[in-house]
């Protein structure tokens, strides 16, 4: 599978910004994560009482470590070696694997929860990854995806799928070029799940305490 230019830009931006990103997460610089979305995804995973979790796009590993601290077996994967190095300092099962490799069958394990926490940023790369998810789910397992709420972002832009310019605003210093990211409407997220053989079970919308509006959306889907 050949990555499209935009898909490659995403990975390149994370390769180039792994250091400042790790600091931003460790120092709790991103307000919406501190106030709402970190806890929301931890609670959504724990509510499934999983024995094993696969964290796709685990980054510097905060979520994997939080879940491991609850006695859950966690496999964290990310395409960025520097982030996996940072995650591995505290121990744990972390692996450098790209979404394209997972789409091609590189991950053989199954889990009760596959979680993607703000880690689905591309177009074709995400479609390919999602198609592999049913094969990663143990019987009764679910995919949990937390992402920007399509209707809470970019309200001055047309509500239609497409590439959008990224930003590191609010993440602190030291960042270089931001990556583009692929915007999907709610309907397109559901269609992407359906195409991948995944059926939406529920949808949570964690509300930001300052705005009273959704800070994110968490989709829960199972094999259809």
């Amino acid at each position: 599978m050949t990555a499209r230019p935009d898909e490659a830009q995403i990975l390149n931006a994370w390769l180039a910004n792994a250091g400042p990103w790790e600091r931003a997460v460790r120092e709790g610089r991103i307000e919406s994560r501190q106030l709402v979305t970190d806890r929301a995804i931890v609670e959504a995973v724990l509510a499934r009482a999983p024995r094993r979790v696969i964290d796709l796009g685990c980054g510097e590993g905060w979520l994997a470590h939080a879940l491991a601290a609850k006695g859950i077996e966690v496999i964290g994967v990310d395409a960025v070696p520097a982030l996996i190095d940072a995650a591995s300092v505290q121990g744990g099962d972390f692996r450098v694997i790209s979404y394209e490799q997972i789409a091609a069958g590189a991950l053989r394990e199954q889990a009760d929860v596959v979680v993607c926490n703000f880690s689905l940023l591309g177009d074709a790369s995400v479609s390919g990854l999602l198609a592999a998810v049913p094969g990663l789910l143990a019987p009764g397992g679910v995919l949990l995806v937390q992402t920007l709420h399509p209707l809470a972002v970019a309200t001055d832009e047309p509500y239609s799928d497409g590439w959008r310019q990224g930003s590191w605003i609010g993440c602190g210093d030291g960042f270089g070029q931001p990556a583009p990211w692929y915007f999907r409407t709610l309907g397109s997220w559901l269609a992407a799940f359906a195409t991948a053989g995944l059926q939406l079970h529920s949808l949570a919308e964690p509300v930001h305490p300052h705005t009273g509006r959704p800070a994110s959306v968490i989709f829960m889907a199972g094999a259809s």
Copy 2:
């Protein structure tokens, strides 16, 4: 089943405003309907190629007549006798039945599509109606619900379920007291479907050509 005060207010408001409402629809006074949502729901129904449709909360019957003109057998039901009288002038199968009566089993027919076009306005009355919908679906049949997009309305109010004050703004003259209506988040709509034994298949978000933002949401669900 005893209606809660707010539920009764909804029906009372429609009983009192049936005349001006019929005029507003017939004269095409509601811009978002003219530009977007009328066509969106007609196309969503036709895409299912149904033999028979049940139109719940059919009002003055425009949708039922539009579908009947395509050769579809349509049963239109509404709790407001004046609206059913208006719908019946052009002929067709229109019946005065309340949602509470449907919840209690008053409708025996099954259809390939059950459609609710901006007609689910209450709390408990809607839950009761939805619970009866699986029994109204022929094998392979679906429920189509068009409603205000939860994230496109009342953006200055907290994003949580609850009663909201209605309005006849934009509908023309002659209206009396508006009815309250029950706001549901997207997550709550999905949960309401799940509770009723309905599984969301897809979600469409017709975009208003002037704003570029969703004018409504159309849920499609089948028996789970």
